[in-house]
């Protein structure tokens, strides 16, 4: 039974990793940029929900969609002001652009809201229950279901809408897409907006049970890169399954050794995969 509990916990953590990883993979797939600041957008969404709750008494389950809308525009703004200008630059310059953004947003959060850990104890999602010997925490179950729904919506958006298909076309071959009349600059901006909105939903759902602090986002984003690599850089559905895998690996690894070593298993998994298949488990080229 205890293994069932480990699997369940890993699955829920994995669904959150999946949300983070899908946004990362979307940006990577469309414009070949590794966004180190991805977790910071998640952290901003957590603070958004925290202040909506503490200042106006709005429940995180209500403010999460609002956070997604706000972060969509933040994502578009970041693309327009910064990312667009480093698209043609070297990989190193691109990495430093997004890494500088990580430092900047984290330090700004520290400056404005201090490093204190905050939480939202009275969300509607609060409460626990038990089914067949397995413990379920209300906020975590709701977060898991929300993540699943969001992942489904993103999949539908990418594969069934005209904008989503245009995004795929740009990812496949930007020049050919341009010849077909697709405005790749607009597509890049949309990819950033959608990616940030998706990770904001993750942040909002997490804020009902996870400690909110300026460092909260990066704890999710770095392991999520492993999920992206497992799924093959740029593959949205690959990133989803990669997220679930690292959630289970991390939880099980921490359970069998010590929680402070749980990330070692995730990082080790990345190395195993790229040494075995240098372009990712499902990757091509």
């Amino acid at each position: 039974m205890i293994y069932g509990q480990v699997l369940l916990d890993g699955l829920i953590v994995g669904l959150m990793f999946a949300l983070v990883a899908m946004g990362l993979s979307l940006i990577y797939g469309v414009m070949n940029i590794v966004n180190f600041a991805h977790g910071e957008f998640m952290m901003l969404a957590m603070y958004f929900c925290f202040f909506a709750w503490s200042l106006f008494g709005i429940d995180p389950l209500v403010s999460t969609p609002l956070a997604a809308v706000v972060m969509f525009f933040v994502g578009v703004a970041v693309y327009r002001l910064l990312i667009r200008h480093v698209l043609g630059a070297s990989m190193v310059a691109q990495i430093f652009a997004t890494f500088g953004l990580l430092l900047f947003i984290q330090a700004a959060a520290n400056f404005f809201w201090k490093a204190d850990v905050r939480s939202i104890p009275t969300s509607w999602a609060a409460g626990n229950f038990q089914i067949a010997g397995l413990f379920f925490s209300g906020p975590e179950v709701i977060a898991g279901l929300g993540a699943l729904l969001t992942a489904g919506a993103l999949y539908w958006f990418i594969h069934r809408t005209e904008t989503g298909l245009a995004l795929q076309a740009v990812a496949e071959d930007p020049q050919a897409a341009r010849l077909m009349g697709i405005d790749s600059d607009r597509m890049f901006a949309i990819a950033w907006g959608v990616s940030c909105a998706v990770v904001a939903i993750g942040g909002g759902l997490l804020s009902t049970y996870y400690a909110i602090s300026p460092l909260a986002g990066s704890r999710w984003a770095l392991p999520a890169f492993v999920a992206v690599a497992i799924g093959g850089f740029g593959s949205i559905s690959g990133a989803f399954f990669g997220g679930i895998i690292i959630g289970v690996v991390q939880t099980a690894g921490g359970f069998f050794t010590s929680p402070s070593y749980k990330l070692l298993f995730v990082y080790g998994l990345y190395l195993l995969i790229v040494f075995w298949r240098p372009y990712g488990l499902l990757g091509r080229r």
Partner: protein, 350 residues
């Protein structure tokens, strides 16, 4: 007779180089204030590491975000050997370099097969993994680290043996020595056939491979040399601050700082990383000294104080971290407006 003074070493006339290094050697005469000496010591130390990083990152084109590991090996080996066996730090240097060479081989062999982002992320995850291990390793003091017992040396040789000097001056010239050593090593490699193989690998790996260049071997040699110099800097750092802990040695942040200094100055050039260090290290040290020291009021005292109280709170430094805020902004602006580095900017003005 004096014609050699007019010769140029990567664009910089020999006369200018002589003047610059004479100025560096004489700088301690200018100020006895520890803080101002400290800034230049750190600039030269990080300059040495930036130049060492550049052997691998600039010449061979392998962008490693994991050099904090070699820095940490130097620092931890010295601290551990001194505390556990009373070994003189100078004698622990060969041990540290042996360990770093072993680590370089173990890490380099599998990772050098990876390219682009896959290589970068592998170095990031190895660095983070090692950070987790070190901060849970009890013999190394875990997250708290190792602190040196204070030793009052009798004379210079005794101080050298114990690696603890009373003032900053010996450290100053130690750092200058490392800085010059790194620059000379870079220059020698750059001008040698080995350096040309590295550049060939960077420019067109497949072409180099097809011409019979043993790509894997030369990348590994570049990493070993680069790691050895970084390890030496780590030992020096441990003796300088007399305290070793994970966050300031084997962390991703330190690794990125090393790499950023090289990139800021101009990747692959001799003087770039040296210049980068003298721009970014004083900037961060000054920001840290003047901005992060302003500890804020307790936030709870503010509730009910209205907008003015909040503005005052931020004016006094808010929750801190303004130094990192500014640092992040500098990185963003350089990546955005001058992706080729500061040296590229100077060249453009020429």
């Amino acid at each position: 007779m004096t014609a050699w003074l007019g010769r140029r070493v990567e664009g910089l006339p020999v006369a200018a180089i002589v003047v610059l290094f004479a100025a560096l050697a004489l700088y301690p005469l200018l100020t006895a204030l520890p803080f101002w000496r400290h800034i230049v010591i750190m600039s030269m130390l990080y300059g040495a590491m930036g130049v060492a990083w550049n052997i691998l990152g600039g010449l061979a084109g392998q962008v490693s975000f994991g050099h904090g590991l070699y820095f940490g090996i130097g620092a931890y080996t010295a601290a551990y050997c001194y505390k556990a066996f009373g070994l003189a730090p100078l004698l622990s240097v060969p041990i540290a370099i042996a360990i770093s060479t072993l680590a370089a081989v173990l890490i380099g062999l599998p990772t050098f097969r990876l390219r682009g982002h896959y290589f970068v992320l592998a170095s990031v995850f190895i660095m983070e993994g090692i950070y987790v291990v070190v901060s849970n390793w009890d013999q190394l003091g875990a997250a708290i680290g190792l602190e040196y017992p204070v030793y009052r040396a009798q004379g210079f040789l005794d101080a050298l043996w114990h690696g603890q000097f009373p003032g900053k001056l010996p450290y100053y010239y130690g750092a200058l020595g490392l800085f010059v050593l790194a620059l000379v090593a870079f220059r020698v490699i750059q001008r040698s056939p080995f350096g040309m193989f590295l550049v060939a690998i960077r420019e067109e790996q497949d072409a180099a491979l097809s011409l019979g260049v043993d790509v894997a071997r030369y990348k590994l040699y570049a990493l070993i040399v680069s790691a050895a110099i970084t390890t030496l800097c780590g030992t020096f750092y441990a003796q300088y601050v007399l305290y070793v802990e994970p966050m300031s040695t084997v962390s991703l942040v330190v690794s990125l700082e090393i790499c950023f200094i090289a990139i800021l100055g101009g990747i692959g050039t001799l003087w770039g990383p040296a210049l980068g260090a003298f721009v970014i290290v004083p900037l961060t040290e000054l920001l840290r000294a003047y901005l992060s020291g302003r500890i804020a009021l307790d936030m709870s005292a503010l509730s009910g104080g209205g907008l003015m109280a909040w503005l005052e709170y931020y004016a006094r430094g808010g929750g801190g971290n303004l130094d990192i805020l500014a640092y992040g902004l500098v990185i963003i602006l350089i990546a955005r407006f001058q992706p080729a580095g500061v040296l590229g900017f100077i060249r453009r003005i020429d």
